[in-house]
């Protein structure tokens, strides 16, 4: 029994099929609990008023935006090294979700920034590196769509993901060098203790888990769709060949 067994598309489909409804359900439940708790059952912040509640969308989506890129990096590496098609398809499926998370983080950040900082957008290092991450996602998706041969596309996008990760990391530090920040530091941190009242912290944790599950559910569904699309294509090719032979 090893993890690599799930690289077999059949095994992957059989295992994930029954799991998907449960994960979707858990994600929906936690999302409902976290968001209702966060939006309606928390007190107004003493300085930020009710705008503080944007944190329940902003922080989880920003966290997922970065984590999804890391997940794409890992799956791209697995594809390049071990040539498991499911891995490449999972990376392909994750990219649009990552882009959506990045855009959600940027938009909710702007909505919060307008009343709090008095501006929708500043060229702050964190905001800028997210915008750059957004560009990386767009480039990655565009490369997938531009190449017709699926294996070539998987290879080239995997190489792009590896190189892009290095440059995305470099850009992050370059941007800190270029401008000083307006964005506050991390709201949650393992080292520096608690910076957030418990009343906000627990709904936020719930939302973060919910966003994580949402991503898992979406990426599983999208990967399964990709696998099915591949199968249909293979069957059509086989049918065409048989017609040609007959």
């Amino acid at each position: 029994m090893s993890l690599w067994e799930y690289a077999n598309p059949k095994k992957f489909m059989d295992t994930t099929g029954p799991l998907v409804p449960w994960i979707v359900g858990a994600a929906a439940l936690l999302m409902a609990v976290g968001l209702i708790w966060g939006f309606f059952l928390t007190p107004d912040d003493f300085r930020q008023g009710s705008t503080v509640r944007i944190v329940f969308l902003h922080v989880p989506s920003a966290m997922m935006a970065i984590n999804i890129w890391v997940m794409m990096l890992v799956t791209s590496l697995i594809w390049l090294i071990r040539r498991h098609h499911v891995s490449a398809l999972a990376a392909k499926a994750a990219a649009p979700i990552g882009l959506a998370m990045t855009v959600i983080a940027l938009i909710t950040g702007g909505l919060w920034g307008q009343p709090m900082w008095g501006t929708w957008w500043v060229w702050d290092p964190r905001l800028t590196s997210f915008l750059i991450l957004c560009l990386f996602y767009i480039g990655y998706i565009a490369l997938w769509q531009a190449i017709e041969d699926p294996d070539t596309a998987a290879d080239l996008t995997a190489v792009l993901c590896l190189v892009g990760s290095v440059f995305a990391l470099m850009s992050r530090y370059a941007v800190w060098f270029w401008s000083q920040g307006l964005h506050q530091g991390a709201s949650l941190s393992l080292q520096s203790g608690e910076r957030m009242a418990a009343a906000y912290r627990w709904p936020l944790y719930t939302c973060m888990v919910a966003f994580g599950l949402l991503f898992v559910a979406l990426v599983l569904i999208a990967t399964r769709t990709e696998i099915r699309a591949r199968r249909i294509k293979a069957l059509q090719t086989r049918a065409r060949l048989r017609e040609g032979a007959a």
Partner: protein, 218 residues
Amino acid sequence: MIALLGRDLRLAIRAGGGFGLGLAFFLILAVLVPLGVGPEPEVLGRIAPGVLWVGALLACLLSLDRIFALDWEDGSLDLLATAPIPMEGVVAVKAAAHWLTTGLPLTLVAPVLGVLMNLDAGAYGWLVLSLLLGTPALSVIGTFGAALTVGLRRGGLLLSLLVLPLYVPTLIYGASVVTRGAEGLSVGTPLALLAGITLGAAALLPFASAAAIRINLR
């Protein structure tokens, strides 16, 4: 490899178009920006480092798709792939040829455009030095982008989309060398980081570019 470099240089210079085009674009940009933002010397002087660096970067971008496109079309790239020199070497030579025909001329004309943009007198040396150190990175990164998109019929636009985010760190450090030079601050840190990007990219990216070429030739 030297023969390949000579061939690429001759092709770039004699075929026309590509060689002068980047320079002309750079010049036009330096004319258009003052027309757009107004002729006040203080404003121009303040934005000059950034505009010149962005201009050099975009001018570099113009000729990227020619790095491999012609060789791909006429099949020379297949011959190069079977040649005794490794693909990594071919890619590095291509990047060097691109730099010699694009980055180096851009660096040499940049001070003239600096006059047009009313660049601070103390910054000319830093402008040339930062472009000299930074444009090789632009060529090497661009070669990687060109290698990724070589098999595509309309790769040009996609190429810019892929390459421009990769140019971000180079642009930031390059432009901040010039800005700091103009203000008389110390430029050691960005200069060292810029040189680091160029050296790191030149050392590592040819492997990625060669891998991309091999995948595309498969």
